[in-house]
């Protein structure tokens, strides 16, 4: 869930679009059916009228037919119901139809006039019309037609009603949808904000659940249950790990004390050296337990009492001074390059511990004759520290794995250490809200960059570990 969700991809938007489209289609079909039925009914009525009128006029005595046709035409000055009598040469005899409609079949059935009819009250305007023609026994042709613009008008009214209906439904629907979408979006943003500390490793946090009990609440409830279980399991694992380290320290310390006394008593005896090597081994185990418990201690620490304005450059100079003899003894060049830096808010002791672990690691993995560089410069948002070495580097596929406790990469299996150094760095970085990036130098060697500020989602780094940071092994030179 990175960044702001696309509004048009929301479920609400999708539902609105789907329902809107269905409504438009259904509305159009419904109105179309109504219009079709209405038109068909009206056409049937007109057809019956035309048939009746034809029957009436055609049954007139032939000698009076022209008079009757003229009389019928005279009472219809607007040409709504036109009538025309044509001789067998298609010449008009009576009525208000000037030309015999060429395409009109003379079968006594009502047809739509292909070219319509001219309206006598409207210059040169032709209107749609239905009509029928029949050939009389004397060879004359009687034509009756009716303007059907009224039916078209009714169709237009129905279509306008459809448009009004859709407009009055869709526009408020879209507005309502927009407003409806804001609610879930706001809750999604709240959920997103609530997951930030969880993604950063604080498994004690939970997603907010409202009283609505809707789908989002149900989902949040499921996630919260899952988080609870994850937290319980994590605490169990961590507790077991810590308890083992804690409980074994005491008997090991006693064992060490006995060996120490034995060593004192064997002063000068050949066995004293053997006892001493046992003490060294026990010290190494105790060192690992101390490191393990130190990680837990730092992870459980939620204080800021010792946080103050710290000069990173000063801390780096101390780290450099502390490790310079070690690098020199190992035949390594140990370079220090500090640009002017702004102060950072940090616990100086913990910052020293983190940087000491990074530098100690770099020295440990760099072969004799190699080079370790400790550089500090100002990034766009704060100081950054690069620890660069010419050792074998950390393979890209191991850069996330080295964040795990006790992880030993292929390059580190033959070296000393417990695999907890970077866990300590990780915990310190997390405590400060800083970020660590594990990368390479372009050739061989590793580059570990400590950003003394919190990285944002737009920061482009290789292995961005703002809250979950890798581990290096403690220094054993």
């Amino acid at each position: 869930m990175n960044g702001r969700p696309n509004s048009w991809h929301s479920t609400t938007s999708r539902l609105i679009l789907i329902y809107g489209s269905l409504f438009v289609v259904w509305g159009a079909v419904l109105v179309g059916v109504i219009q079709w039925e209405t038109t068909r009914y009206l056409n049937t009525v007109i057809d019956q009228m035309l048939q009746q009128r034809m029957h009436y006029i055609a049954s007139t005595e032939p000698s009076r037919l022209a008079t009757t046709v003229d009389a019928a035409a005279a009472i219809d000055p607007h040409g709504i119901m036109s009538v025309g009598l044509f001789d067998k040469d298609h010449q008009p005899v009576a009525g208000n139809i000037d030309h015999l409609p060429a395409s009109l079949l003379r079968d006594g059935q009502v047809h739509l006039l292909r070219h319509g009819l001219p309206r006598p009250d409207r210059d040169a305007e032709r209107v749609r019309a239905r009509g029928l023609a029949t050939t009389l026994p004397n060879g004359d042709i009687l034509v009756i037609a009716k303007d059907i613009s009224t039916i078209d008008g009714i169709g237009a009214i129905i279509r306008r009603a459809l448009l009004w209906g859709l407009s009055l439904t869709i526009i408020p629907g879209l507005l309502g949808g927009f407003l409806l979408r804001r609610g879930p979006e706001k809750r999604i943003r709240e959920l997103q904000a609530a997951t930030d500390p969880i993604r950063q490793g604080d498994l004690s946090k939970r997603l907010p659940v409202s009283r609505r009990g809707d789908e989002l609440d149900q989902l949040a409830g499921i996630v919260n249950t899952m988080l609870g279980e994850i937290e319980r399991l994590m605490n169990e694992v961590k507790g077991v790990c810590d308890n083992i380290a804690h409980d074994l320290r005491t008997p090991l310390t006693r064992l060490r004390a006995r060996l120490y006394r034995t060593q004192q008593q064997l002063d000068g005896e050949p066995e004293a050296a053997l006892v001493e090597s046992c003490i060294v081994d026990i010290d190494e185990v105790l060192t690992r337990f101390r490191a393990l418990l130190r990680v837990s201690e730092l992870e459980d620490r939620h204080r800021a009492a010792c946080f103050d304005e710290v000069d990173v450059g000063q801390v780096l100079r101390q780290v450099h001074e502390f490790y310079a003899p070690v690098a020199e003894d190992r035949g390594q060049a140990f370079e220090l390059d500090i640009q002017p830096l702004t102060p950072v808010r940090a616990d100086a002791h913990l910052l020293f511990e983190a940087l000491a672990n990074l530098v100690g690691n770099a020295i440990k993995f760099t072969p004799s004759g190699g080079k370790v560089s400790l550089r500090a410069s100002m990034d766009k948002r704060g100081p950054r520290v690069d620890v660069i070495d010419s050792g074998p580097g950390i393979p890209a596929d191991e850069r996330d794995a080295v964040t795990r406790r006790f992880y030993r990469g292929d390059n580190s299996r033959t070296t000393g250490g417990s695999g907890l150094g970077l866990s300590i760095v990780s915990a310190i970085v997390r405590l400060h809200g800083y970020a660590l990036d594990i990368g390479d130098t372009g050739s061989s060697g590793a580059r570990l960059t400590l950003y003394c500020y919190t990285l944002g989602p737009d920061d482009k780094v290789g292995t961005c570990l703002s809250r979950s940071v890798p581990e290096v092994t403690p220094m054993t030179v």
């Binding site: 320290r249 060996l259 120490y260 010290d283 418990l293 130190r294 009492a305 502390f322 003899p325």
Partner: protein
């Protein structure tokens, strides 16, 4: 013989402390709870108190705070299972002089106890420290061996000063790191060894008797050869 009051509720730990202190020539009294410990500490004159942080009856922090309020400046070595820096700071701010976390190596505890006892001894304001023919001028920050000046880096000077101020006293690597560098975590013991080795190369030149001695399994000590022989094999 220095008199030490051991305030510790865990019998096994208390026995360890008493045995180790006795092995270093101290007379130790053991008290198992805070109230009795405070009563003993205020009624008798002790040279040193080892004080457990968590005690029945009265918390170790309260004991040392009460002791200081009563005007007693007896050095207090706080011993606690609480290893967090915050706890260490609380203990020291309440009036403790040093802080050791459990479980501890007895030789580390005795070394810290001896340093505290040494600090308690009235010392004249000195301008020069001397161990055999090694001298350290605290004003000019120059060291001399056999009258010849030695070139020391600032860290080497601080390291030598700490060793010489506690000459004849075993100092653990942790104590050296805490005092000389001022940090409280485990930096990896070998780094301290490297610094000591470099200092040793400057101090103990070829043909000269060694003054910096390694105390096997514990740490380092600076002493004249004849003084060191009784402590270091």
């Amino acid at each position: 013989m220095p008199q030490v009051l051991v305030i510790e509720d865990d019998e096994t730990t208390a026995r360890e402390i008493v045995a180790e202190l006795s092995a270093h020539g101290m007379q130790a009294d053991w008290v198992a709870n805070g109230r009795d410990g405070l009563a003993h500490a205020t009624q008798r004159e002790y040279d040193l108190i080892t004080l457990d942080r968590m005690l029945p009856g009265m918390d170790g922090i309260d004991v040392v705070a009460e002791l200081r309020r009563a005007g007693r400046d007896t050095p207090v070595l706080m011993i606690s299972a609480l290893s967090d820096v915050d706890e260490r700071v609380r203990g020291l701010r309440a009036g403790g002089d040093d802080y050791l976390t459990k479980p501890f190596a007895p030789d580390e505890m005795s070394a810290r106890a001896e340093v505290l006892l040494r600090r308690r001894q009235p010392q004249a304001v000195v301008q020069r420290l001397r161990v055999a023919d090694l001298e350290l001028d605290l004003v000019s920050h120059v060291a001399y061996r056999g009258g010849q000046p030695l070139t020391l880096l600032p860290t080497e000077y601080r390291l030598l000063e700490f060793l010489m101020r506690n000459s004849g006293q075993v100092l653990t690597r942790t104590m050296i790191f805490e005092t000389v560098w001022g940090f409280h975590f485990d930096p990896g013991t070998n780094v301290i060894d490297v610094h000591i080795a470099r200092l040793r190369r400057k101090i103990d030149g070829a043909g000269q008797p060694a003054l910096i001695h390694t105390v096997r399994g514990t740490g380092y000590m600076i002493a004249a050869a004849n003084e060191a022989a009784t402590v270091v094999s």
